[in-house]
C-alpha cells in the first residue's frame, strides 16, 4: 500500500476534482464557427451563436471570475456593485448576531426545560409547534413589526438557530448522569454551583452539537433571507448576479457560500472537541 489512508484519500479527491473540471470544460467548450455570418452581425450575436459556445460558463471562465473577485473583495461601487468580501461580511455579521442572540436565549431556556420536568412538559407543545415552521414564514411578520429589512433577516436567523440548540441543551441537561448529580448532592453543592460545575460540563458536548446544527441552519437560511430582503449580503449578491445574467458570478458565489459554511462548521467542531471529555 502506498502512503497513509489520508494521503490516498487526498489523491482520490484530487482525481475526482480534475475529472469533474475536465468534464465541465469539455461540455461547455466552443464547437467552432457554426455558420458564415456578416462580421457585424456576428459581433451582435455573441459567441454563443457564432462559435457554438455553451451558454453555461466553463471552469476557466469561472476560475477567472473567482480570481477577479478574490483579488478585489472589498471594492464598493454603489448599492449594486460591491465586492464579494463586503457582501460576505454583511451575511456573516447577520448570522453571528442572530445566532449569538439565539444561543443566549436557547441555552438558559434549555437548562430550565432540562432541569424541570414541569417546564419540560409545559413548554413541549410550544416547541413542537414552533420548531417545524420554516424560518422564512416569519419574514412577513418580522417585516411588518420590525419595519427594517436587515433586522428582519437577523430575526429570521435568530428563530431558526433557536430550536436545535434549545432542544439539544434540554436533552443534554436532562440526561446528565445521575451518579454525577449524586456526587454533587452528597457534597452539598448548591443549585448554581451544581449547574456550572456538573451540569454544564456534562452537557457541554450535547449543547455544542446543537449549536453546530444551529450555525449550519443559520448559514442555509441567510442566503434565502437575503434574497428576500435584498440590499446587501451574499444571498442578495447571488440574486443580483442572476438578474445580471452573470452565471459565472453565481457559481463563484455558490462556491464561496459552501466554503464559508464549512469554515463555520469547523469552528464549532473545534469547540465541540475542546469540551468533549473521554469516558
Amino acid at each position: 500500500m502506498i502512503g497513509s489512508l489520508n494521503l490516498r484519500a487526498a489523491i482520490v479527491s484530487i482525481a475526482i476534482l480534475f475529472a469533474f473540471l475536465l468534464a465541465w470544460h469539455l461540455a461547455t467548450r466552443s464547437s467552432g464557427p457554426t455558420q458564415a455570418m456578416d462580421p457585424v452581425y456576428a459581433k451582435l450575436m455573441g459567441a454563443t451563436a457564432t462559435q457554438g459556445k455553451s451558454p453555461m460558463p466553463g471552469p476557466i471562465e469561472v476560475g477567472a471570475k473567482l480570481w477577479e473577485q478574490l483579488r478585489r473583495p472589498f471594492y464598493d461601487n454603489g448599492p449594486n456593485d460591491k465586492g464579494v468580501g463586503i457582501q460576505l461580511a454583511y451575511s456573516i455579521g447577520r448570522v453571528l448576531i442572530g445566532y449569538l442572540l439565539a444561543i443566549a436565549v436557547a441555552v438558559p431556556i434549555g437548562f430550565l426545560v432540562g432541569m424541570s420536568p414541569l417546564m419540560s412538559k409545559a413548554l413541549d407543545p410550544f416547541i413542537q409547534v414552533l420548531k417545524p415552521i420554516s424560518p422564512l414564514a416569519w419574514m412577513p411578520l418580522a417585516l411588518y413589526t420590525i419595519k427594517d429589512s436587515s433586522l428582519s433577516a437577523i430575526f429570521v436567523i435568530f428563530i431558526c438557530s433557536l430550536w436545535p440548540t434549545l432542544i439539544n441543551t434540554a436533552f443534554g441537561v436532562a440526561s446528565v448522569r445521575k451518579e454525577w448529580l449524586n456526587v454533587a448532592k452528597t457534597l452539598e453543592v448548591g443549585t448554581f454551583r451544581r449547574a456550572f460545575t456538573i451540569i454544564l460540563p456534562a452537557a457541554a458536548p450535547t449543547i455544542l452539537t446543537g449549536m453546530r446544527i444551529s450555525i449550519g441552519i443559520a448559514w442555509l437560511v441567510i442566503v434565502a433571507a437575503e434574497m428576500l430582503v435584498g440590499g446587501t449580503g451574499i444571498g442578495y449578491f447571488v440574486w443580483n448576479e442572476w438578474n445580471n445574467l452573470s452565471i459565472s458570478s453565481v457559481i463563484t458565489a455558490i462556491l464561496i457560500i459552501g466554503v464559508v459554511g464549512m469554515l463555520l462548521d469547523q469552528v464549532l467542531a473545534l469547540i465541540t472537541r475542546l469540551v468533549t471529555f473521554p469516558e
Binding site: K185, V189, I198, F277
Partner: protein
Amino acid sequence: MSDRFISIEGITRRFPTPAGGFTAVFSDLWLAMRRGEFVCIIGHSGCGKTTVLNILAGLDTPSAGAVIVDGKAIEGPSLDRAVIFQSHALLPWRTVTGNVAYAVSSKWRNWSKTQVNAHAQKFIDLVGLGGAEHKRPSELSGGMKQRVGIARAFSIEPKILLMDEPFSALDALTRGTLQDEVRRIFQETGQTVFMITHDVDEAIYLADRVVLMTNGPGAVFAEIVDNPLPKVRARNEIYKHPLYYAVRNHIIDFLVSRSRSFVQEMGGAYDPRHVAVVRPGLPEPTIASSNEPTLPSARGREAAAY
C-alpha cells in the same frame, strides 16, 4: 450499648408497582452502629442494600422510620457522610486532583486554591496515586479510578463513610490491594464505615460486624455476625484464625439457603428491633455485648439491638 452513633430505626422503603400497588423492598430495619465501627451488609441483589445506603447518604428517603446520626435525624445529603460509589462516579472532565479538589472545595468553601490542592494532594498520596494527579479518569485503570473515589471520600474528612460495593467491578488482585488500603486508612483515621458487599471474604476481612440481609421484597436484617477476627489483621493471616471457617460457612450457608426461607422459618419469633447476634463456632453467647433487653431464642442466638 452506650454509643449509638448511627441508629437505623424501623426504616421501610416502598416502591410503586406497575399494577398500581406498592411493594416494600425492605421493611422495619433496625440497626445501631458504634463510632469507629466497620459494618458490612451482605445480601443478594434486589434485597435493597443500595437503597439502605442511599437512605443513609440522604439520597433517598424511607417510606417509614428514620435514621439518626449523632443524635440528629438524616434530612438529605451531608458532607458528614461521604459516599464511595460502586461506579466510582468520577467527573470525567476533571483530573485526579480536580476530582478530589472538587470535594475539598465543597467542604471548605473559603479555602484558597493552594490550600485546597495541598489538602487534596495529601489524600491522593494516601491512596498511592502520587504521579497520576494530572490524568483524567479515562486514562486510569478501574482500580486507580476507585482509588480516586476513595481519596475523594476521605478528603472531606467525613464522620461516616458509606461504600456501595466499591470493589465489585475490579479484578481480584486489584480488589485485594484496595481492601488492604481501605482497612489501613480505616484504622489510621478511625472512621465509621458502612459498606455494602456481596463478597463473603471481603466482608469478613473488613468488617467488625456483618449484617445478613434476607432476599427482597420485604427484606429484613436476619442476623448480625460478630466478627471474631482481631482489630489488626492481615489478609494472609485471617484464614488461619480458628473461627474463620465457621464464620465463613455460616454466612455462605445463610446466603445460599437461609436468606430465602428465613422469614417463614422464624415466623413470629423474629423481632426486627432485636436482631440476633451470632458468633459462629462459639458454643454459646460468651460475651454480653449488649445491655438492651435480650430475647431468649433457639439455636444459641443472642438477641441484641446493639
